[in-house]
């Protein structure tokens, strides 16, 4: 009988311990690992602090991609939601489906000049695929802010 109780106690302790570790790790990890999504308009309204990691989504503005005359593998372009633009700077190879006039999602942070320094440009793997975030932000831009944009 004693063995049986010990056994139960052991199991309960393990579960409590496991759950405790899990909760602690999760809380810590969620703090570290979540990227909030912002649109160019939200960024220009000052909703993001310099140095904060986040994800930006928008369209690559036509004629804004600059590849030559920069350092190394750097490339610059404007991400737009047709209201506001944000200058994005990235060093590395662009994804195959990166094109002017197409949607783009990038991870990174704003530097002191207000330029978005991208650490990663997300690849789209399908011509039809548009990230839900980009679609929502573009829809929002069209619906709400058309008036603002036209001023």
């Amino acid at each position: 009988m004693l063995a049986h109780r010990q056994q139960k106690l052991a199991i309960v302790l393990f579960i409590v311990l496991g759950a405790g570790i899990a909760v602690a790790l999760t809380l810590f990890a969620l703090k570290e690992g979540i990227n909030v999504f912002f649109t160019p308009t939200e960024i220009s309204e000052g909703e993001v602090e310099t140095g904060q990691n986040f994800r930006i989504g928008g369209m690559v503005k036509m004629g804004s991609v600059i590849k030559e005359g920069l350092d190394g593998a750097e490339v610059n372009f404007l991400a737009t939601d047709f209201c506001n633009d944000v200058l994005v700077s990235f060093s590395g190879p662009l994804p195959d489906l990166f094109r002017e006039g197409q949607g783009v999602v990038a991870d990174g942070a704003l530097d002191n000049n207000g330029t978005f320094q991208a650490t990663q440009i997300l690849a789209k793997h399908d011509e039809d695929y548009m990230s839900a975030e980009v679609k929502a932000s573009l829809d929002a831009a069209e619906e709400e802010d058309v008036g603002v944009c036209q001023q």
């Binding site: 063995a3 049986h4 010990q6 056994q7 052991a10 199991i11 393990f14 579960i15 496991g18 759950a19 570790i21 899990a22 790790l25 999760t26 810590f28 990890a29 969620l30 570290e32 690992g33 979540i34 990227n35 909030v36 999504f37 994800r55 590849k67 030559e68 190394g72 593998a73 490339v75 060093s91 590395g92 190879p93 662009l94 195959d96 489906l97 990166f98 991870d107 997300l122 690849a123 789209k124 793997h125 399908d126 011509e127 039809d128 695929y129 990230s131 839900a132 975030e133 929502a136 929002a140």
Partner: protein
Amino acid sequence: MIPELGNFSLALGLSLAILLSVLPMVGVYRNNQLLMAMSRPLCTGVWVFMVISFGCLAYAFLHDDFSVAYVASNSNTLLPEIYKFTAVWGGHEGSLLLWVLMVASWTYAVSLFSRNLPLDILARVLSVMGVISVCFLLFMLFTSNPFDRLMLSTPAEGTDLNPLLQDFGLIVHPPFLYMGYVGFSVAYAFAITALLTGKLDAAWARWTRPWTNAAWAFLTIGVALGSWWAYYELGWGGWWFWDPVENVAFMPWLVGTALIHSLAVTEKRGVFKSWTVLLAIAAFSLSLLGTFIVRSGLITSVHAFAVDPERGLVLLAILLLVIGASLFLYALRAPIMKGTASYTITSREVFLLINNIILVVATAGILLGTLYPLIHEAINGEANMVSVGPPYFNTIFLPLMALLAVFLTVGSISRWKKTSTAFLKEQLTKVAIASVALGILLPLAITREVNFGIFLAVALALWIVLGIARDILTKISNKDSLLQGLKSLSLSYYGMQLAHSGMAVIILGICLTSHYSVEEDVRLAPGESIVIRGYEFIFEGVTRQPGPNYEADAGLITVLKNGEDYLQLRPEKRTYFATGAIQTEADIDVGLFRDLFAALGDPRGEGAWVVRIHLKPFVLWIWLGAFIMAAGGITAILDRRYRTKEKVSQQDKIVTQKDDIVMEGA
């Protein structure tokens, strides 16, 4: 004509599957042998019609029958023959057909290889698997039939297979992954049967174990192949992204791993019974969740292939049905199944329990991270979108796996029921000292660099490997010779140790490649070069070269090792004729101790390109370790005790005879 035949046999297969899900079950409750015995031929029937269906779709692809909508949107006359065949499972409808073919094959395999199962058990198991077939066949026929025709407007040319899928990786990755996913349906069917009968004994566990091992081994290879494919085809040299699509394949694997260990306890000691059943339900439910998430496009993923809310809804219904019904049954019946054996705190049972807790906690963490964007959006509204990145998953997953590796050795060296602390100390003290010492000294001697992550990884890998060596030596110490000792160990024991050493190899692969990889993105004009650790990569420029259904910008990179000619890499940037899609083809020189990776980025004027060059030490070990693990799973299945009843009873007879002789002698 042929596509109609395919469609027709899908419908016939569905009818037989409906009979399969009903008749044997009715037979069980009416105690009608004939109805129960129907289950075997019905399985064969379903399987045959699925094979015919699959063959018909393959025929339509190989003969460029663009009147079939699915073929028209996934093939092209210029597509090489081999990709015409693999395009059968390149899209949503076809991959569902493959899914259903797999369910039918597993069901058929169960009916073939379970001659020693009592008929009423077999009838129940096959019947449950029949229900799964019915769900997916209905789903396929009504929402995504691969044989739908474009009769009135047959296109002259197909739109082509996604270039990403025109690759060896696609030939092998989905079939293995699906074999694993679907294979858990067998464990699930056995679990439901146990709940229905209320009987869950060692025999039940012995029937279930080989099937679970097989499914797990397939899933291991499937996940590894997916990661390998990502590495050379779409990941630009990355091999794991914690992308939702990867996560949903990985979660059933983690729970499957827990299930394998829990089944061992249930077979050997008759405890953890209801827990084992719950894991079996969870493993298959997570497989379904994976199918649902990938197919519904619910979660934004870099490779969400099919985005169609209506299909997603039907899949969600199937998912809820399977999970809901089985959990309901579980709630009703689980209290019946109680383990009676007792064990102490340092027994193998408890160490395997720890293994299970760690694996389940890891799964829960990944599940939370994968679904968090959805939860967040549901609570805070559509405007507040978040994404959960690799830092989250790494923070949760890596410490848990380190803990798992620590307990792995302790658990596999400990004994059932009770292990004395003195025994554990005697066995493990030297192993612990040696692995910590070597774990620090080896990397230090080779790299002359202090890096605690690497120390930990090497120490853990050594802890596993040395622990295995120690255990084998202990086990054979009373045998006359080494060879005789090695022969005396069972195949399931070797399977376990093989799988565990695979874990050590993966730990090394992941940590060494993460820490020591050099990844350079550089703009190189023809003639320019970059030097990485003794390798000089000279960019010779890019030329236009034709392919069968594409034209490529083919780059040429000459690699010098310590100043001498070594090899050439030819990464390509292909433009496919049919869709105009652009696809990067990396070129990799694979080696046991390092990979040289080169990929072309985009042109940056005056013949210069952005070139991605990686030097990745030990990256091959990640997939090598996975294959060793899978080999372990297969080895364990071959163990003698899983063979047929007749042989067992013969052995029993021999044993009895021997006993008689001994008694006579005495």
